[in-house]
């Protein structure tokens, strides 16, 4: 145990910053990056608009050193990031974009395009744009909008912001970050070279940050009370919104083994912590339905942090990936210091926010069987707003037809019950029937009454029932054009 480091290190303002939580009266391990930045005299440009990941005013860019020695620039919501999560990364805020009094091309473009009115959202938009700029790629309008959909502006109506971002991104030039690249890499390497996991004990709070899977599993075996976090996009809200005190945390976001994706002959195995942006791009061709869902999952900032593991372990009735993963017949691979097991996702989710995850286990990965040719899978999400919204109803469907007769069908829904559920009555009705509009219409009536959804802030029970029934029809329509 004595190998553990007590401090975290990261790069800010071109310097390696070290935080020893026990020496700083203002900081705890669950202090968010946003709070920390706003305590500094020169980083108040990062704003708080919501403290829950929904407005993007707090957007900063985290730079990571990849294994291939390249730097990757990721926009994240600093209001959701606990300080230890930035260990080993560079933090770039809006103040860093200017260099010796000269504005960055993005900043100039925002001024010239009249992209700020009250200006409160502006630093966040600038930083989201910056992350695209640093990807170095010329991108489509859709990609720009996707990258800005996690930022809200109440003043401008977005048109000038889009124009500003587009103009800046259409002419990417090396900037001072390019010039400093070697310095940054060396700094990040220097931090990486420090061996040993990080253990922060302050007051009644313990925060453990391991770099190896075995360390995490051993720790979890000994401390079953410790909660796991990865992206913290669910967990941080317990602190920022509910003022909860989290006494014991294992942060597994720095474990590379949990971010791998393995392609075998008959399945792909997705690391539980692989971020959802990367996952989206990797599954675009082979698992289109999952791609469709990831496209409307949270925002770019959220997807940069979140993994499948968190979505599955939360077992929320509105977890967007659950119905689609179930439709693909996914299974979950679980590890503990004592061994490994694999369980079908459908069986893993037991009830409202309840899984069969044991105290000492973590989700290692998710297995998606490759789909046979005659299997048709689709997934849908209906929400009040297209982007960055939780679904009113979501669905993942699969069907195998033989001579236009239903040979196998599975219909999974989110938002219709306490957990992601399967419409068994409707499936039963359709089974061995002809795949015709007439039968679908009849099935829709069964489906309409199959669940008793809630009325809540997002939708009414009546509306949800209509949506669920309609999605079945959409599935049928999509299957016949295919």
């Amino acid at each position: 145990m004595n190998k553990h480091n007590k401090h975290i290190k990261f790069v800010l303002d071109n310097e390696i910053v070290s935080i020893d939580f026990n020496k700083d009266p203002h900081l705890k391990s669950t202090t968010t990056l946003l709070k920390y930045l706003r305590l500094l005299p020169n980083h108040k440009g990062t704003k708080e608009g919501c403290a829950e990941g929904d407005c993007g005013a707090c957007t900063v860019v985290l730079v990571e050193l990849n294994n291939d020695n390249t730097l990757e620039y990721k926009a994240v919501n600093s209001c959701l990031v606990f300080l230890p999560m930035i260990h080993g990364k560079q933090v770039i805020t809006v103040e860093n974009l200017e260099e010796s009094g000269k504005l960055h091309p993005i900043q100039k473009s925002f001024i010239e395009n009249h992209a700020s009115q009250c200006g409160f959202c502006t630093p966040g938009f600038v930083m989201s744009t910056f992350s695209v700029y640093k990807s170095g790629n010329l991108v489509t309008d859709t990609v720009i909008k996707d990258s800005l959909a996690g930022n809200l502006c109440r003043c401008t109506g977005y048109r000038p912001i889009f124009d500003a971002a587009k103009e800046a991104i259409s002419d990417i030039k090396p900037d001072h970050f390019s010039n400093d690249e070697e310095l940054t890499k060396n700094q990040l390497l220097e931090i990486k070279a420090e061996k040993g996991s990080i253990l922060i004990e302050k007051g009644k709070q313990i925060y453990f940050l391991p770099f190896k899977l075995t360390e995490a599993l051993d720790y979890k075996l000994k401390h079953s009370d410790a909660i796991i976090i990865n992206g913290a996009t669910d967990t941080a809200l317990r602190v920022t919104k509910k003022n909860e005190f989290l006494p014991h945390i294992i942060d597994i976001s720095h474990i590379d083994e949990l971010k791998e994706i393995i392609d075998t002959k008959d399945s792909i195995i997705i690391g539980a912590n692989l971020n959802l942006n990367d996952l989206r791009d990797l599954v675009a061709l082979e698992f289109e339905a999952l791609y469709d869902i990831l496209n409307v999952f949270g925002s770019k900032q959220i997807r940069n942090l979140a993994g499948l593991g968190g979505n599955i372990a939360s077992a929320s009735p509105i977890g967007d990936t659950l119905p689609v993963l179930m439709a693909y017949n996914a299974s979950v691979i679980l590890l503990s210091a004592k061994g490994k097991r694999e369980i079908r996702l459908e069986d893993f989710i037991i009830d409202y926010r309840k899984t069969s995850l044991a105290d000492n286990e973590i989700i290692k990965s998710v297995r998606l069987p490759k789909t046979p040719n005659n299997l048709f899978v689709k997934a849908y999400k209906i929400s009040k707003r297209k982007d960055l919204d939780i679904s009113s109803v979501s669905a993942g469907f699969r069907v195998i037809l033989k001579n236009n007769i239903v040979n196998e069908i599975a219909l999974f829904f989110g938002g219709m019950a306490a957990k992601a559920v399967r419409a068994k009555n409707t499936e039963q009705f359709l089974h061995a029937k002809k795949w015709t509009l007439e039968n679908i219409e009849a099935a829709r009536r069964i489906l309409f009454d199959e669940f008793k959804p809630l009325s809540d802030a997002r939708a009414e029970a009546e509306g949800r029932k209509i949506m669920a029934a309609n999605l079945l029809k959409q599935f049928w329509l999509d299957s016949i054009v295919k």
Partner: protein
């Protein structure tokens, strides 16, 4: 003037250097405040005990209503809003106690240690229930013209109905915030994100029981306001000041997003009952409309808001016989308040809904019904409240936008699309806006300014208006630059401060640059006269000129002798001469809008200085399966007079339109039966994001129609564009009604969420099958 002049703060905005109140460097002494708010919608406080909270380490003050040194009252017009509840609880989120502590965490913990016993009584949450229970807050207002009884008797067709418009949360990015710093003696300086510093000052002074000159309120910029900081910023300022007064330490109070959404008021929900008579051509003969507003628990600005809704209940149409009733109903919710448009949107929505219904019955394109009912130029131009619609731009705008939007071709294309698609339907609609400019309360139409010129020729402009992103300071800077004939960069507009300009009105009613621009101009005219006197004298004695003060020109950073233009002095040099002559280089300015009056009893008068006009054409596509909609294209043509800054004006139009878009589509507030707001965070309250705006968005200003008698012939542009978004709602209705071949008017409220669209489709299908 350069239309491309960018926002004066844009360089600070993009670099993170713009200082909002939360960014002001914190004193080590600073205390953080939290509010303990009611968890029940109605009831009484039986007892409370603050001792445990007070004893927590780091807590510096815990206050109840008993600790208020002045009056426990913060209602802006009517005195029906206690600062802290004195026993009666009227909504979830009502402030009861205040805490100041060394950190926010400690303050939050202290809140949880407060002990209180309450007794809950019956609450009225729904507007319908308030109406049923007769919970009127104020006497009914009425405007009437012609004879509706007679018109209904003689009518060829009559329709009636009712519909509901929802609450809208302001969702300024910067939540309510104040920083109160006690000075010596009774002094209190308050930095407050407020649209109305003078009122904030007055109410803080009254709550502290001190004279107003002890309180100074300052605001450099707000992170958005939209009406939400017209009165309700006062609350946070007063709470912070009370704590600062007790502790003698600076106190900052910033509402978290959830607190802000739960505790502050919204755009008033309206329930609109209507009856209309029209002939077979679609010409409207009479309208009888009742505007029922959900006030929340107190008056706040409800009455002027209802009044404005009534003034816009006929929108752009001449209705010869009309009766408009305005009713303010009391519910156990936070007091609803000003929001861009100030009742105008609700009033207009009622009228546009009537037009749609008429079109469906007569089987005509709603555009046609709109056009034939427009106010005309020489006749049919009298509003129900007796003001003539002068300088009517409706027909000019209509002619242009119908052409540029290709309306009739696209109508055909929409019909074609709909006949070829089962699961997607398109809709097209045009909607006009005629919006009255002025505060409808006459005495508010005044403004002050103070302009200082320093010895180096730099100019500091103070005025009573506040900067919330709309670019008011930029426009004022441009106005001052044009009036003084000096470079824009030599002019700075200061933070708004009650010590500099007293007794101002709120920056609201779109009047910011109209009023303050004129006041600044007035001050500059005084200064120019003084400078001209001295400098003409100077040219006469030094340059052998025979010029008089009237011959002095201010141009291109020079002060020039018109009679001999080679006689010229750089502005700064001229200023030095004036200084040495011991002439004051500081002047106040003042302006009041002429000719405004309104008699509430009679419902007649001339409440507006002028009208602003605009129109929009929107085309949408709805997905009948998911209820999602997309705005394929929106064209806007808007009248901003002779624009002072086209880019800023376009920014107001686009921004206002998109905010309106949120109101009519995705922004929905629901409360449970206990008065808890369900959509109290951006997680469930959805304002538009970048993918919700029109795919093809064409915004233009009407050019060639300057506005007589206003500052540089411009027009107010803050609020009117909000209502242009009604075209989106109308287009959605058009698309839904295509499901029944436009024979049935879909019943759909505002907002038309994806869910309500689906339900409307189901309803219309059910009617078809009957």
């Amino acid at each position: 003037m350069n239309k491309q002049t960018v926002h004066e703060s844009s360089e600070y905005h993009v670099s993170g250097k713009a200082i909002y109140i939360d960014d002001i460097a914190e004193s080590p002494e600073l205390l953080h405040a939290k509010v303990y708010a009611s968890e029940i919608p109605a009831g009484v406080i039986k007892s409370f005990n603050l001792e445990k909270a007070k004893r927590l380490k780091g807590v510096k003050a815990v206050l109840s209503h008993k600790d208020i040194p002045g009056v426990n009252q913060m209602g802006p017009i009517f005195h029906d809003e206690p600062i802290l509840s004195a026993g009666k609880l009227e909504f979830v989120g009502q402030a009861i106690f205040l805490v100041a502590a060394e950190t926010e965490e400690i303050a939050t913990e202290a809140i949880s240690l407060i002990e209180i016993e309450t007794e809950e009584t019956d609450a009225i949450i729904r507007l319908e229930d308030a109406i049923e229970n007769g919970e009127l807050l104020h006497p009914v207002r009425k405007i009437e013209c012609g004879s509706i009884e007679k018109a209904f008797d003689e009518a060829e067709n009559i329709i009636e109905g009712r519909f509901h418009t929802g609450a809208q949360e302001h969702w300024y990015l910067e939540t309510q915030i104040s920083l109160a710093i006690p000075g010596e003696g009774k002094e209190m300086k308050v930095y407050c994100s407020t649209q109305h510093p003078s009122e904030t000052q007055a109410l803080v002074a009254e709550s502290l029981g001190v004279m107003k000159h002890e309180v100074e309120v300052e605001i450099r910029r707000m992170g958005g306001a939209f009406g939400g900081k017209e009165t309700q910023a006062n609350h946070v300022a007063i709470w912070a000041a009370l704590l600062a007064n007790t502790t003698h330490k600076p106190v900052k109070l910033r509402l978290s997003r959830d607190e802000d959404q739960k505790m502050t008021g919204k755009r008033h929900p309206f329930l609109i009952n209507f009856e209309a008579a029209f002939d077979n051509s679609g010409l409207i003969k009479a309208v009888d409309v009742t505007l029922n507003a959900d006030s929340g628990y107190s008056s706040d600005l409800t009455m002027p808001i209802i009044e404005r809704a009534m003034f816009h209940a006929e929108n752009a149409y001449f209705i010869p016989n009309m009766r408009i009733l305005g009713k303010a109903w009391k519910t156990n919710l936070p007091s609803n308040t000003a929001f861009r448009g100030f009742g105008g949107p609700q009033g207009m929505a009622g009228m546009e809904n009537i037009i749609d219904k008429i079109a469906r019955i007569l089987n005509k394109d709603a555009a046609e019904i709109r056009y034939i009912n427009f106010y005309r130029q020489k006749d049919n131009n009298l509003t129900p409240y007796g003001q003539i619609v002068e300088n009517n731009r409706l027909h000019i705008i209509w002619d242009k936008i119908i052409k540029t939007s290709n309306y009739y071709k696209r109508r055909e294309a929409v019909i074609f699309f709909n006949s070829n698609n089962t699961y997607k339907k398109r809709g097209l609609a045009i909607s006009p806006v005629k919006f009255g400019i002025s505060f409808t309360t006459a005495f508010l139409n005044q403004a002050g300014a103070l302009v200082n010129i320093y010895k180096d020729g730099s100019v500091l402009v103070n005025h009573g208006g506040t900067e919330m992103g709309q670019g008011l300071h930029t426009k004022i800077q441009m106005i001052a630059s044009a009036e003084l004939g000096i470079d824009y960069k030599s002019i700075k507009v200061n933070a708004t401060n009650t010590a500099k300009i007293p007794n101002t009105s709120a920056t609201a009613a779109s009047s910011g640059s109209d009023l303050n621009g004129m006041a600044v101009k007035d001050a500059i005219i005084k200064l120019k006269k003084r400078i001209a006197d001295v400098i003409s004298n100077h040219f006469r004695s030094e340059n052998n000129s025979s010029c008089t003060a009237n011959d002095i020109l201010f141009e291109n950073d020079y002060v020039i002798d018109k009679t001999k233009p080679e006689n010229r002095l750089p502005f700064a040099e001229a200023i030095m001469i004036v200084y040495l002559e011991r002439v004051s280089l500081s002047a106040t300015g003042f302006y009041k809008t002429p000719g405004i009056f309104y008699n509430t009893e009679k419902g007649k008068g001339h409440p507006f200085y002028y009208y602003a006009f605009g129109m929009s054409v929107s085309e949408v596509e709805i997905d009948l399966i998911t209820g999602h909609h997309e705005i394929l294209r929106t064209d806007i043509l808007h009248d901003a007079g002779k624009s002072i800054n086209e880019s800023l004006d376009i920014g107001q139009i686009e921004g206002g339109f998109v905010q309106g878009l949120g109101w009519v589509t995705s922004e929905e507030c629901k409360w449970d039966e206990k008065g808890n707001l369900l959509n109290h965070s951006p997680d469930t309250y959805k304002i538009p994001s970048i993918n919700d705006i029109p795919e093809d968005f064409r915004v233009n200003l009407l050019t060639g129609y300057p506005n007589p008698n206003t500052i540089r012939q411009s027009k107010a542009v803050g609020e009117p564009p909000f209502m242009l978004a009604l075209s989106v709602w109308l287009a959605i209705k058009d698309a839904i009604s295509s499901v029944a071949n436009h024979k049935i008017e879909p019943e759909i409220d505002i907002p038309a969420t994806h869910e309500k669209i689906l339900i409307a489709i189901e309803n219309i299908k059910a009617l078809l099958n009957q």
